[in-house]
């Protein structure tokens, strides 16, 4: 697996199109823990989180062309797939049933590979402080939607706020979060702007 140590995510995904399993293994090594962490956070269920990670990795294996480096990072693609599937689970009855059946002593606390994930731990801290810079009005709806898997309509109901207001607070909140994260170097503002759009060509 060391042969992929210095490879870019794009090179690894390229390897998937040649059915190179060692590339998927390296992708798992790089992104498996965050993928699992997010799934476990959203589903509240480690065994469901395992299923989610498995599904997402296999989905990428089957359709590596989903990754488009001009559109964003592999990490964000994987996490958006993980999030979508986790939310599906949270919203299904099946998930509720599984959570009830969850075996309490199934898993031991596992340590995080600090070396490999040092940067992720930094990001996590930076995200917490960036979130803290948002107003309560923007932060709460984002957290309820993203981490609890609520729709914005449910969030509106929970916070007794009009749906349109929640929609626009989440939007401005994400933009502010992005600005804060680029200030502290977590996100590069121009990461998605390799190709700026040309007004004249828009259909």
């Amino acid at each position: 697996m060391e042969k992929w140590d210095g490879a870019s995510d794009s090179e690894l995904v390229e390897g998937l199109t040649r059915a190179d399993q060692s590339c998927l293994a390296e992708i798992y090594r790089r992104h498996g823990s965050p993928a699992f962490g997010l799934a476990a956070r959203v589903t509240g269920d480690r065994s469901a989180a395992e299923d989610v990670v498995q599904e997402v990795l296999l989905a990428l294996w089957r359709r590596p062309e989903r990754f488009d480096a001009t559109r964003g990072s592999l990490r964000s693609l994987l996490l958006s797939m993980v999030h979508g599937r986790s939310v599906d689970l949270v919203r299904s009855r099946e998930a509720r049933r599984r959570r009830e059946l969850r075996d309490a002593n199934e898993s031991q606390a596992l340590s995080v590979d600090i070396d490999r994930h040092a940067w992720d731990l930094v990001v996590r801290d930076q995200v917490s402080s960036a979130l803290a810079t948002l107003s309560e009005n923007e932060r709460r709806p984002i957290e309820l939607a993203y981490f609890d898997g609520r729709t914005y309509k449910e969030v509106a109901e929970m916070l007794e706020t009009p749906e349109g207001t929640i929609k626009s607070r989440i939007r401005s909140g994400l933009k502010n979060l992005r600005a804060a994260l680029s200030d502290n170097g977590v996100l590069e503002l121009d990461v998605n702007n390799h190709e700026s759009f040309e007004e004249g060509k828009l259909s």
Binding site: P34, D120, V155, N192
Partner: protein, 249 residues
């Protein structure tokens, strides 16, 4: 309110998976042809990804379990199949007017979005229900739109199995109550067939009833065909169509 205005208000909540099924369909169909919205959406995904950086080590044996599921044969990596509009490869703007022919020649992905309404998945059950009323509405709206195309898909024996309505926007709707359920490791696959060959429109699952998808541009005279394929789809039809129909103006 224009489509663009309505969708741009939904982009952030869409990136957080906090919208209804109908709303996600609306977003997916719009961003497929709006660079401004697509670009904002990409940014929201990147921000959400940072937000989602929750690191926790999975069980030690998770990778080995995943590895056992990898087929030893070639993966469907290069397949012209569909679905996740969020990350569907960016189309080359320069070739847009001829994209259909170009895509057909290269057997590339033409489909922008397919959302399945199949009865065989627990995960999609909720979405199916959410879609039930929305589908009928969208179907009727497409039928009422000037310039729509409608196609009846028939078996080689001439039996009607499905109807497809294609709105001028490229949004398309297939409804079938006569397609037999396949084994769970098989899928129906939808194709656009022209003189330059067959191009995958998308996978419909093993028991499709109502399916919404986006086709970009189809031309009268082209044929829509359905074949039965392995679960992960095929690059080219591997069998003769179980049903097909010609697009009329």
């Amino acid at each position: 309110m224009s489509d663009h205005d309505r969708v741009s208000e939904l982009l952030a909540v869409y990136a957080l998976d906090a919208v209804s099924h109908d709303e996600s369909l609306l977003v997916e169909l719009h961003v497929a042809h709006c660079e401004i919205c697509q670009s904002e959406l990409d940014q929201h995904f990147e921000t959400a990804g940072a937000l989602g950086t929750v690191v926790e080590s999975p069980p030690e044996d998770l990778w080995s379990r995943i590895a056992t599921q990898l087929p030893s044969s070639e993966p469907a990596g290069a397949l012209a199949t569909v679905t996740d509009i969020r990350r569907a490869p960016r189309r080359n703007r320069a070739t847009t007017p001829e994209w259909f022919a170009a895509a057909a020649a290269a057997a590339a992905v033409v489909v922008l979005a397919v959302s399945l309404n199949s009865a065989n998945s627990n995960l999609s059950r909720m979405r199916s229900q959410a879609l039930a009323s929305g589908f009928a509405q969208s179907w009727n709206a497409a039928l009422a739109a000037p310039g729509h195309h409608s196609v009846t898909l028939r078996t080689p024996n001439g039996a009607q199995v499905a109807k497809v309505v294609i709105a001028p926007t490229g949004a398309a709707y297939l409804s079938s109550h006569a397609m037999a359920a396949l084994a769970s490791d098989r899928t129906y696959q939808l194709w656009a067939v022209s003189t330059s060959g067959a191009v995958s429109i998308g996978l419909m699952g093993s028991h499709p009833t109502n399916v919404s998808f986006a086709v970009g541009k189809l031309l009268p005279g082209e044929t829509i065909a359905v074949t039965e394929e392995p679960e992960s789809g095929s690059v080219a039809p591997s069998s003769t169509p179980v049903a097909s129909g010609v697009i009329r103006a």
